[in-house]
């Protein structure tokens, strides 16, 4: 391609970072030294080469961001030359992902979560003290080399408030601090530049209040079994599901998963067996397995805990999925804010590969399967499966129109099975216990157990595994009820894309069918509790801001609608006039309908759900109480 790269060249650090990922350039035409005897006579490239390499664009940006702390034009130019990407396109991709800095930035950055769960736990005062200590957000006065920034939900809601501390360098360090007890803790984390921080078993147990208790399936190893040890995993029952899968063969695996009536746990609740069968039946080759670990729904942290606490299980499940669907290559796309989970998964994959559990001949079975871990870069929308595919392909994370569905045309346009982490984790007990035994838990239509991410104003926030059919009130009770003995005002069920319910819904049975009948959704299993002191209008404002920030900007209803929704909410808060309020609420309702009906993807379609539910069920803005 005749790409037009002008302007500055990469410096030595930037080149080294890119070369460490891609290897040294092979010719003068792709950024290496010009050897005229070779380069003067022929070159290779063109569109096929560009297409083959494009998927490395995000990893290349990450490499530079990790090393230098931002992506300069020179670095971008070098990447463009190496990967044959037009600079304007590269810029479009770079500016899509909020973890990439496009201007000079302090090497150390504290990303402070100010999203709803952390907000309920003092995020704003943390921001205020950081502003005092480090200066205004995004600045690094006096060459202090450290800055802080607000962040959408970091997925650490059970231990809010949370921060992600990143220091560029070779190697870069990325660590989560949660809960943040004060700026001192952040300073300590910044000074401990010893690479990634992973959690101890004790820390994991703190996240899972049920740890060690009987009756757990998905969480039975979390906090008890060393997540870094393949031996420990095997000793705790690991890889027995793969053995069973190899006995069953592809059709048998799919039959078992189908019989179990496993529904997707990412939010859409699609039958997993149907999905796998569809991919397996597609004649186009190759097939891919994608594990959606871009868990970014505010209030959600279950996949993080599974990956950090039981990483081999995810690897094993992906392997089984690969065998079942004739896929030899998988991708695990983990959000960029999950350094702990990423490290654990990477360690586990390496160990599995070394043990022959991944590779050209999995366990000597003749099946080939391996996976790559890809890191997101700060874009909620990439949790949408088709946006995730685009991101894997090195593009902006813009959702695609469906159909075609991923089973027909997924990543790289090929048949793809894409499953959420929790969904995959369920495959193991289905195979080891057998579909019927596994499905005996839960209800007839909602089989198995469900992970609930309980956060907000509860006594024991954390990740709970409970059978489908448990009531909302029981979940709240498990978590010790509303903290401090306060009254319950509202529960956000299903995440920011979910809905608010009030105390009247505590008897709601948490199943797909019951929530659907009630006009609700389980979403990603979020149960975020707000006590009677909470300013719900402020929470709605933050949710509206979240969707505005995270809209990809592709379709009009979402791009502009999320802005108008935030503006209308601000007007509603500011304006006490009853008539004006009624008018605004009417506009808000019509706007919500259009966003739900006409947006391309689930983000826009659900961006008004929480607001509408708060207005309808909790009378926010209708009475004076929420103001």
């Amino acid at each position: 391609m005749d790409i037009h790269v002008v302007g500055p060249e990469a410096n030595a650090d930037e080149r080294a970072a890119v070369d460490a990922l891609l290897g040294a350039p092979s010719t003068g035409w792709d950024g290496g030294d010009r050897d005229i005897a070779r380069d003067g006579r022929s070159s290779r490239g063109g569109r096929p080469a560009a297409i083959a390499q494009r998927h490395l664009l995000l990893p290349a940006f990450h490499a530079v961001q990790d090393r230098v702390g931002w992506v300069s034009r020179g670095a971008m130019n070098y990447i463009c030359q190496r990967l044959i990407v037009p600079p304007a396109e590269a810029w479009g991709v770079l500016t899509f992902y909020h973890l990439f800095a496009t201007g000079p930035r302090a090497a150390a950055v504290v990303h402070v979560c100010d999203d709803i769960a952390c907000r309920a736990r003092g995020a704003e005062s943390l921001c205020a003290s950081l502003a005092e200590a480090l200066g205004p957000e995004g600045t690094a006065p006096d060459g202090r080399g450290t800055t802080w920034m607000r962040s959408p939900c970091l997925g650490q809601c059970e231990r809010a408030p949370a921060a992600l501390v990143v220091r560029a360098g070779a190697p870069a360090s990325r660590a989560v601090v949660a809960p943040v007890s004060g700026t001192d803790a952040l300073t300590r984390a910044l000074e401990a530049s010893s690479g990634h921080l992973t959690e101890s078993l004790a820390e994991l147990r703190a996240i899972v209040p049920q740890a060690g208790q009987p009756g757990l399936t998905l969480l039975r190893r979390v906090g008890l079994v060393d997540p870094a040890s393949l031996e420990a995993y095997r000793a705790a029952g690991g890889y027995t599901a793969l053995a069973r899968a190899l006995e069953l063969g592809p059709a048998g695996i799919i039959a078992e998963v189908t019989a179990a009536k496993l529904m997707g746990r990412g939010g859409a609740a699609f039958p997993t067996g149907v999905k796998w069968a569809a991919v397996a039946a597609e004649p186009a080759e190759p097939h891919y397995v994608v594990c959606n670990a871009d868990e970014s729904e505010p209030g959600t942290f279950k996949d993080r805990v599974l990956m950090a606490g039981d990483p081999f299980a995810i690897i094993e499940a992906m392997t089984i999925c690969g065998i079942a669907t004739r896929s030899t290559r998988g991708f695990l796309y983990v959000r960029g804010e999950y350094p702990d989970a990423e490290v654990r998964i990477a360690q586990a994959a390496a160990a599995a590969r070394a043990a022959g559990l991944l590779g050209d001949d999995v366990c000597g079975s003749g099946y080939a399967f391996d996976l790559e871990i890809r890191r997101g870069a700060g874009a909620y929308i990439c949790g949408e499966e088709t946006a995730l595919f685009n991101s894997l392909e090195g593009k902006r994370g813009e959702p695609r129109s469906k159909p075609p569905f991923p089973s027909q045309a997924g990543v790289f346009g090929k048949p793809t099975v894409v499953n959420n982490v929790e969904t995959l984790a369920n495959v193991l007990p289905i195979l080891t216990e057998g579909a019927a035994a596994w499905a005996a838990t839960g209800t007839a239509s909602s089989t198995g157990t469900r992970l609930f991410c309980v956060s907000g104003h509860v006594t024991r926030p954390g990740l709970y595994e409970l059978p489908f059919g448990v009531t909302l009130g029981e979940v709240l009770t498990r978590a010790g009820g509303v903290a401090g003995g306060r009254d319950l005002q509202a529960i956000l069920l299903g995440g920011a894309a979910g809905m608010f319910v009030g105390p009247e819904s505590l008897d709601l049975r948490l199943t797909f069918e019951d929530t659907r009948a009630a006009g609700l959704t389980l979403g990603s299993g979020v149960v975020m509790v707000f006590d009677d002191t909470t300013d719900l209008a402020d929470v709605l404002g933050r949710i509206a801001q979240f969707f505005e920030d995270e809209s990809c900007g592709q379709c009009v209803p979402c791009r502009v609608g999320t802005v108008r929704q935030r503006e209308l909410l601000a007007q509603l808060r500011a304006d006490a006039g009853v008539t004006a309020r009624a008018e605004r609420l009417a506009i808000l309702a019509e706007l919500g309908q259009a966003m739900r009906d006409a947006s391309i993807c689930g983000l826009g379609q659900t961006a008004s759900s929480a607001v509408e539910s708060a207005v309808a069920r909790l009378q926010v803005f209708r009475s004076g109480s929420a103001l």
Binding site: I36, S43, G45, G46, A49
Partner: protein
Amino acid sequence: MGGGTSSYREIEETDCILLWGSNARETHPIFFHHLLTGVKRGARLFTIDPRRTSSAQWADVWAGLDVGTDIALAHTMAREIIVAGLAHNEFIREATTGFDAFKASVLPWTLERGEQATGVPAGVIREMAHAFATAPRAMICWTLGITEHHNAVDNVLSLINLALLTGHVGRWGSGINPLRGQNNVQGGGDMGALPDRLPGFQHVENDAVRARFDRAWGVTVPPVRGWHLSGMFEAMGRGDLTALYVIGENPAQSEADQHHAEALLAGLDILVVQDVMRTATAELADVVLPAAAGAFESEGTVTSSERRVQRVRRTKAPLGESREDLAIIVDLARRMGAAWPATDAEGIWNELRALSPVHGGMSYARLAAGGLQWPCYDETHPGEAFLHGRLWERPVRGPRAPFSIVEHALPVEALDAEYPFRLTTGRRLEEYNTGVQTGPYASPVRRGETIDVSPEDAARLGVVEGQRVRVRSRRGSVVAPVHIDAALRPGLTFMTFHFPDEVATNHLTIDAIDPKSGTAEFKAAAVRIDALDA
């Protein structure tokens, strides 16, 4: 018939493209769109060009041959195809002649010899040969990199040999296509503006053909071929040609060896120039006839590189006293005593249709939307997407296609110690020919004439970007700023001829002429470069 054998749409559906001596990305941008559609659908693209042009950057493989070694490369590919058993034997047997002699002529061209002669690595030559030969459909497209040589026709014939060898002609998606550099090069030739042809690509020495024209025109058409452009200049040099009527051409600046051309034009008894603009040639003229712009101020037709005849129309009134070419010519004929009837563009066109079988079906009404591709024999005929389909009929209808025996010959002007750089010339995207039409529009990418050199040569010469240098050939010298271009390798330099008023590149070029086509070797002069001020 002389014309590209394929339609643009076919390159979208082919499997392999050899883009040879053509920077179509810049010189034929919309054709390149079609080509890229083909690439997008999976066609492999090979570009053969001394420079790594913007077209070459799209290629799966770029082969950077030495200027003027095209036949050596084609022969080496041909030999490789033959010895690898990839020739299309059935097509060769049934539809061609002269294969054995051709085979004998290329057998010495081993990959090693090919690499030595062309500079292209043997592996690359082999890869191109195999890819071209094994592709279900394949096309060769070329431009002036093939034809602006002293052996232009031989170059073309060597490419045709490749197509015959592999059967890549006469079928949808396979063909051999010269991309025409000007909007009516094809049409001009089709209308008989060739020394040996009457309209409709009919041979002037064919008695039956001539008889029809005699009848239609009421005169006796002389059975002799005329001069091509370069032949005319030779005739001027001999004093055999003393009066010249130039319509829409700027030979004072577009001919190779410009000093020589200027002197010849100045020495004519009478020079009449009919043009849209006051060109440098017009400045030399005895009479200037201001012409309306062909594309915007005149009625008529032009024919494109896919043999598509399309209507040009008067979109606005001609400027000042300018008139349409047709009106001027008719008036001139009358002044000269010929009783030409009053007619208009459509009348002339219908006369052509009556005389040229391949245009017979192209009424103005049918041409109105989108045009038609010749041959189009009658008003029910839809025009033909590709030529030579007859070669796939068994037995072949009409004459078989002959292989041609051609010899590799280096450019006339060899490099030596005094003139150590190879200067090759070409076009840029935003400019056109000598800038007569493009000069008046403001192009943000216009950067004026430069002498483009490789980074290595710039270092050796001690020159930096923008530094003025004197470029000298055996025929003249110019001063131009340097542009450093990594697309060039040491020893190879490049200039355009778009800015003759500032830098008269054709003072440098050589008028070594291909005797078969009359084209000059614009692509290969020997020059030296001397730095001026730092």
